[in-house]
């Protein structure tokens, strides 16, 4: 059911350094460390084409998704909805810690969180949510029409049929790069930091 315009080109499979994944995005793999049974994380490298859709940023401005992703910074992306009470808060808390730990590199990284419940998540609700998670200036939240949100979810292999079926996912890409690092599962802030630093090094 994934959209046609995204293609798997798994050039590297590193389940935090171990066994190969049978399918990208399948987060049920073997552990790397003693905590990995409780926190399976699968990292892959995948090519995606960013769909040309209009989203509404948390400041109320209509923006183009490709333009937001091509402003000279690396992109770190996730999908959330503000009334999620289980793991979106964890993903957002992880983003906050990650953004803080970036230090001076913060300016070089654009954090983007796209709502998968755009009709509920108005720009005002997204602002409240961003405030709750102390989002710094380089972290924006996005809503828009349902169709636009779906297009973005499908393009990044994040669509799971409905918002309640979502799975934890972070994607990141160096500025201007074609390929993305896709991290399925609950990555910690320091894991995001280490992935991101590698991207910044080649940028």
């Amino acid at each position: 059911m994934f959209a046609k315009n995204w293609f798997y080109s798994i050039t590297l499979i590193s389940i935090m350094g171990l066994a190969p994944a049978s399918r990208a995005g399948d987060a049920g793999q073997k552990p790397r460390s003693d905590d990995a049974a409780s926190r399976p994380v699968v990292t892959t490298t995948v090519g995606y084409s960013v769909p040309d859709v209009q989203l509404v940023r948390d400041d109320g401005k209509q923006v183009s998704l490709p333009a937001e992703m091509n402003d000279g910074r690396a992109v770190v992306l996730n999908f959330i909805f503000t009334t999620c009470s289980s793991f979106c808060p964890l993903s957002s808390q992880t983003f906050r810690e990650f953004q803080q730990e970036l230090g001076p590199d913060r300016e070089r990284v654009h954090l983007m969180s796209i709502s998968i419940d755009p009709e509920q998540d108005t720009p005002a609700r997204l602002r409240d949510y961003a405030h709750k998670f102390a989002a710094g200036p380089g972290w924006q939240h996005y809503t828009g029409t349902l169709a636009a949100s779906l297009a973005a979810q499908r393009a990044f292999g994040a669509y799971r049929g409905d918002k309640m079926s979502h799975t934890p996912l972070t994607l990141m890409r160096a500025a201007g790069a074609k390929t993305w690092r896709r991290i399925d599962g609950f990555a910690t802030p320091s894991e995001l930091l280490s992935e991101c630093r590698q991207l910044l090094a080649v940028q």
Partner: protein, 530 residues
């Protein structure tokens, strides 16, 4: 007094086993008033409401499936049940037949799971489970609360019968009342006919889908007198006729006493026909299809402040009747257009035509008129001089497609339409309309009848996902979870709920009548979510 005491005793026995444990579980608050604290490795701290157990395990304690992460049940029955090897894999988590792959927790093992994230078998719990810092006394309160959590079936469930109520207020429109009751009667009869045949679910050849087979029993709670007297009447009804939930219902000027009662009694109130619901999204038990006229007010505010094609409005003139829901809608619009010159011109009882003429006397081409009026008042416009300004009409109050907007006003009148467009919803409404036809149900208020039918369909589908875990809180939680999947959505383009989301449809259109007469509408806007 006796009834009140009885009611209170019943409620406390079932719901408030341990208030300290409940405060920790539901709100993340310690007896000292301090927030609970917890962390996830390596160093993500959470506290208070963000760390409340109910966020994931839910109010019922029966857990949730989030993507592919199974958030397990934490009810007493689930935690302290011994290992069962030959149980029914498909059985609900709190049923006696359930399958348990691990040993029962002891209090000590459970405390370790809560503090260190280690399961009874020594394995690590999912990363999503935080590690809590709880003093021994607080831990004991929490475990005591879990022991009693969702221990009983809800009232209104017994011996093959599910008791359900519907509520009618004395000021409800008699046509809408009849329209709703007719649909409920037939839907319940249909459900019970299928139950007599053993139920559809019993036809699975494997038998793995063996579902309990319940009849539905409808109790009609007709309220009388002023709204201030309803709470007592509802208590008496619930005392004499315990029910699992309230299904549909029909209200008039206020639904607030019923909303409050259901919240206090812990009684799900599912999709009543009310145009002025209570907006309290952190309440749990009342679910609505939409915010009704309050959504309309936001749609009009969006159009007035956001539409660049409109002339800069000189002022906005709102006309409504003091004793109708238009007054609250007008207040909501006032709150949504800060900085706009806005004038209210309420009509009193009595000569509507004269008053309407007076209210419209000085309307100029740069004014915007908002009519929160019923069809009988809108029909009076035909005998008045034409208004040459932008006019917004409440679709819900004005009669939607059947609204008697006079030909001369159809060029300027825009109706707020918080439903899918008639052309778009043809396939959706074909199904209920066909069902009305084969059941010989006269269509006297298509929208109310379709909404009532849809409420029954949603209830029926949700119950079929609950096996025999007929628990009030779980019913609401399952409805939240399954609504996004719903293919039958009646008048609405889609329905969606979540924790702290109580209105399933969030937007609407602006429409105009296509011709000087007739009921054909054309869209003036895209679907707007204000």
């Amino acid at each position: 007094m006796l009834l009140v005491a009885l009611f209170a005793a019943q409620a406390s026995a079932q719901e408030v086993a341990d208030p300290v444990g409940e405060a920790i579980y539901r709100r993340g608050i310690l007896p000292s008033g301090q927030p609970i604290t917890a962390k996830r490795e390596p160093d993500l701290q959470i506290s208070g409401g963000d760390a409340a157990c109910s966020n994931c395990h839910r109010r019922s304690g029966l857990g949730e499936l989030e993507g592919h992460i199974r958030i397990p049940p934490v009810t007493g029955a689930a935690l302290f049940r011994p290992r069962v090897h030959d149980g029914n894999v498909g059985a609900p988590p709190n049923s006696d037949a359930a399958y348990s792959r691990r040993d029962a927790y002891s209090k000590e093992a459970l405390a370790r799971a809560i503090r260190e994230g280690v399961a009874v078998d020594g394995s690590q719990l999912n990363y999503l489970m935080p590690h809590y810092s709880l003093a021994d006394a607080d831990m004991a309160s929490l475990i005591g609360y879990l022991k009693g959590l969702t221990r009983f079936k809800s009232p209104g469930v017994n011996a093959g019968v599910l008791h359900l109520a519907t509520i009618v207020t004395p000021d409800a429109d008699p046509v809408k009342r009849r329209a709703m009751l007719d649909v409920l009667d037939h839907y319940f009869a249909d459900t019970n006919a299928a139950a007599l045949a053993g139920g559809l679910h019993s036809r699975s050849p494997q038998g793995a889908m063996s579902m309990p087979n319940y009849r539905w029993q409808l109790h009609i709670w007709e309220l009388t007198g002023p709204a201030s007297a309803w709470d007592q009447q509802l208590r008496t009804h619930l005392e004499h006729e315990p029910v699992l939930a309230v299904i549909s219902g029909v209200g008039g000027k206020t639904w607030a006493p019923i909303h409050r009662f259901c919240e206090q009694a812990g009684l799900p109130c599912l999709f009543p026909n009310v145009d002025l619901p209570v907006v309290a999204e952190h309440d749990f038990y009342s679910l609505y299809f939409s915010r009704g006229v309050l959504l309309e007010a936001d749609l009009i505010a969006h159009a007035i402040t956001g539409d660049k094609r409109l002339p800069a409005a000189h002022r906005v003139v709102q006309i409504y009747r003091r004793d109708d829901i238009g007054q609250q809608a007008a207040n909501a619009l006032r709150g949504g257009v800060a900085g706009v010159d806005l004038v209210d011109r309420p009509l009193r009882t009595g000569n509507g035509k004269q008053q309407l003429a007076a209210a419209l006397r000085d309307i100029g081409s740069r004014d915007v008129v908002v009519l929160w009026l019923r069809p009988q008042d809108l029909a009076l416009l035909a005998a008045l001089p034409s208004v040459h300004s932008r006019v917004f009409i409440s679709g819900l109050m004005g009669g939607l497609d059947q609204s008697p907007v006079p030909a001369a006003s159809r060029g300027v009148a825009v109706m707020v339409y918080a439903f899918d467009l008639p052309d778009h919803r043809v396939i959706q409404t074909d199904y209920p309309l066909g069902w009305f036809r084969i059941n010989h149900i006269p269509v006297i208020d298509q929208r109310v009848q379709t909404d009532t039918w849809l409420a029954c369909v949603l209830l029926s589908e949700t119950l079929s996902h609950m096996s025999d875990s007929f628990v009030r809180d779980y019913l609401v939680e399952r409805l939240e979870g399954m609504l996004d999947h719903q293919m039958l959505t009646g008048y609405y383009p889609r329905l969606s709920l979540a924790p702290n989301q109580r209105f399933a449809s969030k937007g609407g259109y602006l429409v105009k009548f296509a011709e000087p007469s007739g009921s054909r509408l054309v869209a003036e806007s895209e679907w707007i979510v204000p």
